[in-house]
């Protein structure tokens, strides 16, 4: 019930901030209305990074504590992170077309870094689906998630350098829009949008986590059912040592 209220609040906050950013805040002098894309764009990019951080930390906690709830958190982080990152890239392209004149700008290090980030975690999600056993899947996914997280700073650094040694400054990069001289009304709107998106992020994370737990419970139920069916077929053979799921897990 509380989660549902949170969902409604998040939806209302995003709707309110959409109205503010579209109609209340004045348009940017140089970029015009296109600049309004920046508010949801920056907010979702930040949350994408946050999600992947959550996935890496949850992976480490799984390896350490061996509690499948951490794996559910890791899955939620990766999936929601991919969604927010894809949304950030899409928003950036919609902004880039009128302002830069192109959808894709190889000179912008953030764009290329974020695209690689998306590829890393789409790979992570695809990889997860290939292992059926929950504990094995959690371990393998945790390792892949940790190495992906280790790779992110190197990617960022190398791409930044690649451009830096290559050519001059990028026109209209996000860092220039967020400079300290930016009018307070823009900064305030961005922070408001970030707060609204974060509420939505928390809601989605909770829901995805709950769903992952339900899926895990179902997997477990199916496993027990198969075990019982196997026992029913050969009742004599298995009576001396009835195998519980715990003992099969331990035997592995």
């Amino acid at each position: 019930m509380k989660t549902r209220i949170l969902g409604f609040v998040a939806a209302a906050a995003i709707a309110a901030m959409a109205i503010v950013s579209l109609f209340v805040v004045p348009a940017d002098l140089n970029q015009g209305d296109a600049q309004r894309v920046m508010y949801p764009h920056v907010a979702s990019a930040w949350l994408g990074y946050l999600s992947f951080g959550v996935t890496a930390v949850a992976g480490i906690l799984w390896v350490w504590k061996r509690d499948l709830r951490f794996d559910a958190v890791a899955l939620a982080g990766a999936e929601i992170g991919v969604m927010f990152t894809a949304f950030a890239i899409w928003g950036g392209m919609m902004w880039g077309r009128p302002v830069w004149g192109v959808f894709w700008q190889w000179e912008d290090p953030r764009l290329t870094t974020t695209a690689l980030l998306l590829a890393l975690y789409v790979g992570y999600l695809l990889f997860r689906r290939l292992t059926d056993d929950p504990a094995r899947r959690a371990t393998r996914a945790a390792i892949v998630g940790i190495v992906a997280a280790v790779d992110i700073p190197i990617v960022h650094f190398s791409v930044e350098w690649w451009r830096g040694l290559h050519q001059g400054a990028t026109i209209g990069s996000p860092s220039r829009m967020l400079n300290p001289a930016a009018p307070m009304v823009f900064v305030g709107t961005l922070l408001g949008m970030l707060a609204a998106f974060t509420l939505a992020w928390v809601y989605l994370m909770i829901r995805r986590y709950q769903l992952a737990r339900v899926q895990m419970a179902r997997e477990e139920a199916v496993r027990l059912e198969r075990l019982a069916a196997a026992r029913a077929v050969a009742p004599r053979a298995s009576t001396p040592a009835p195998r519980t799921p715990e003992s099969t897990e331990a035997a592995r």
């Binding site: 790979g123 695809l126 290939l130 190495v147």
Partner: protein, 220 residues
């Protein structure tokens, strides 16, 4: 122990030559196709040569590392290996060293092939080019051994290995291409050392990450 595993892989490779011959042939075909895709203007091919060199090495490297791990799936050899009472890091190091040997042969031969096919003067900057190939080979072997270990027991390993490995290798590709370009053009901006440092940093971090996590793979 690490050396013993590497020696075993090298020996199996020398006797069977499954990995080297097929991956070399694959790299040659990739170079040929690049020539068709971008040619026949030889100036343009020479300008693109560093990128083509490293794409060929990376693509062929995927095949090489996956072959080295497939060796272990026969007769559950990897499970046997995991039962040996040695540090898991040693197993990773051994597999990575075996991969490095293959990658070095591959890298040097592809470098020579690029010099011949795309009319690039390799002899003029041999030392920095060799250094770049060695650093690149270490990185590909480190990352490749890790991901080959992650995917070797999956049904869809042929797809998953490049899918997971290529985005992670992006910084290496970038640094290696830049270092090669700098070496070939006589390093007019003095950036060669920075790119080599980037490669060293990548290698160190990835070897450490692989060695630290590989053990958990063998346990599951």
């Amino acid at each position: 122990m690490a050396l013993a595993i590497a020696r075993k892989d090298a020996l199996a490779e020398l006797r069977g030559r499954h990995a080297t011959v097929s991956t070399l042939f694959f790299a040659a075909i990739v170079l040929l196709l690049f020539g068709f895709a971008l040619g026949p203007d030889s100036a343009r091919l020479a300008a693109a040569a560093p990128g083509l060199l490293w794409l060929a090495i990376v693509f062929a490297g995927i095949l090489a590392v996956s072959r080295l791990h497939l060796l272990e799936t026969d007769d559950e050899a990897l499970e046997q290996l995991a039962l040996y009472p040695v540090a898991r890091r040693a197993i990773y190091a051994g597999k990575a060293l075996g991969g490095l040997a293959v990658m070095l042969v591959l890298g040097l031969l592809v470098l020579g092939a690029v010099g011949v096919l795309f009319a690039v003067d390799i002899g003029g900057a041999l030392l920095p080019l060799l250094l770049t190939v060695i650093l690149g080979a270490i990185g590909i072997a480190a990352v490749g051994t890790f991901y080959a270990g992650v995917t070797v027991r999956l049904r869809a390993r042929e797809v998953m290995l490049p899918l997971l490995m290529l985005p992670v290798l992006a910084p290496l590709l970038l640094g290696a291409v830049k270092a090669t370009t700098a070496a070939l053009t006589g390093d007019p901006f003095g950036e060669l050392a920075s790119w080599l440092q980037l490669l060293v940093a990548f290698d160190v971090i990835m070897v450490a990450a692989g060695a630290a996590t590989y053990g958990y793979l063998l346990e599951d």
